[in-house]
Every structure is written in C-alpha cells, then in structure tokens.
Symmetry: C2
Subunit: 145 residues, 2 copies
C-alpha cells in the first residue's frame, strides 16, 4: 500500500500536491531542468542537507517524476532525469516563477527567453478550449456524483 491508496480525495489539486507538495521537491525539479542532474550538483546548488536530498530524490523517483539512471559503472555514477510526468510539471514551475517575480521579485532575477524569438517568456495559465486566461471567465466547480 503506497501513500496514494489511502486518503484519496476528490480534489485534483490535492492529488498533485500529494506527489510534489513541498519546496525542495520543486526546486530539485527546477535544477534538474537546468542540467544539474547529479547528486553533488544538486546538493551544492540547493544548499540542502545530504540526508534530506536523498529522501527527496527517492520520494520523487517513487512518485514517478524523476528516474535514477546509472551512466557509469566504473566508477558508479548516477544521474537523475525527468520522466514525462516530471517534464509535464515544469510549466507549473514556470507559472510559479512568474507569480514569484510579480509578487516577490525585488532585485535582479533569472528568466527564460524564447530561443527562436529572443523574447522573454511570459507564462500564463489559460483554458486550452478558449485560450482565455484562467480567472478571466466565470467557472463552475463540479463534484463527482
């Protein structure tokens, strides 16, 4: 019985947070995206305690967001790579980043630029059906039967 089989609520937000709902996990994902895929790279970049990093990494593996990949046998060396689920989470981090920039963005911050257009990326959450930003149209919350 994994942690998911118990207490399955009906709220998809809760379901998501169940898998990544803490700060370190998200920062690990962000760093892996930046190319920091090895334990030592993550540890020094984040300034996280080694035991905590170990636990977060195994939790993320268990949750299916990253996979541990041995790329060298001698010496034994592993890297952590994003799975499809992990890559799918990255846009959310971008959205959180945009929010953080807006509401807690004093000083100079890093940012993403579109490689083709050169423009600074402005992440927004929209409804794929209408293309309208979430929050710009009234919604109705629906519960399952």
């Amino acid at each position: 019985m994994t942690l998911d089989e118990i207490n399955l609520g009906t709220c998809p937000v809760d379901r998501g947070l169940m898998r990544v709902g803490d700060r370190w996990s998200m920062l690990v994902l962000r760093d892996i995206e930046r190319g920091l895929t090895r334990y030592e790279q993550l540890r020094t970049s984040l300034g996280i305690a080694p035991n905590i990093l170990s636990r977060r990494l195994s939790a993320l593996v268990e949750a299916g967001l990253i996979a541990k990949n041995r790329y060298s046998e001698h010496p034994p060396r592993d890297e952590y790579l994003l799975t499809d689920a992990g890559r799918d989470f990255l846009p959310i981090l971008m959205a959180i980043g945009a929010w953080g920039r807006k509401y807690n963005g004093a000083g100079a911050l890093s940012r993403h630029r579109d490689a083709a257009t050169g423009e600074i990326v402005r992440p927004v959450v929209v409804d794929a059906n209408t293309g309208a930003p979430i929050g710009s149209r009234p919604l109705r919350l629906e519960y399952p039967d």
Copy 2:
C-alpha cells in the same frame, strides 16, 4: 527584517515558493476560492489541526495572499478573503490540478466547467507572447549580471 529580506536568491520559482511552498497553504487558497472563507469551515473541510490552521492563515496573511476581514462585531466574526496576489495564484492551482488529474487521478475527481460554454476547463501554461504551451518551444535560461 521579514523572512524575505534574508536569503534572496535570483530564482523566481524560489521567490514564489517562499510565500506558498507548502501543501496546507495551497489547499487553504483552494478552499477559500470555493467559498470556505471562515476558520471553522476551513478546519472541517481540510481536517487540519486548529493550531496548524492558525499558523498557516497568519503566514498567508503575512505573505499577502489573503486578508482577514471582520464582517461582524457582535458576535466577533472574521473571514479570510483572497487578495490580488492570492487570486493571481489560483491559476497555478488549476494547473497543479490538471497535472494531478493526469498523473494521480484514479477515481472520480471534481472539475471546473466554463460557465458560459459549459465545457470542462483544461488549464495549460502557455507563453503569452506566442500562445505556445510551455515546453513546446526551446527556451534559454538567462541569469542576471
């Protein structure tokens, strides 16, 4: 010196998580959006311990995502309302919800429907410049000087 004046990194994601980076905070925001604005409503809906809820609520007030509003003097009754910053965070919760539905969505889940079209909302994070989903175009990460 608030918690923000120290350890200001250059990453906007970190800046965002600094303010909301835990499960309860996000679930509180979700519930307030659903109209559960009072202490007792939140406590029973979330099944959270009262001391924890108190602390989360004051942290969210301090972080500027919600505001405490006294709507009755006799008896003294307060409600917690979303600020602009808090409302701006809701689309992120929708995106997390969409992710949670996709990767941890066994069973029946609640969902949002567009009030006008009646269609089920499908939140996606796009670049406002191009309209393209984040992840569909190569990006370049840029650091401040």
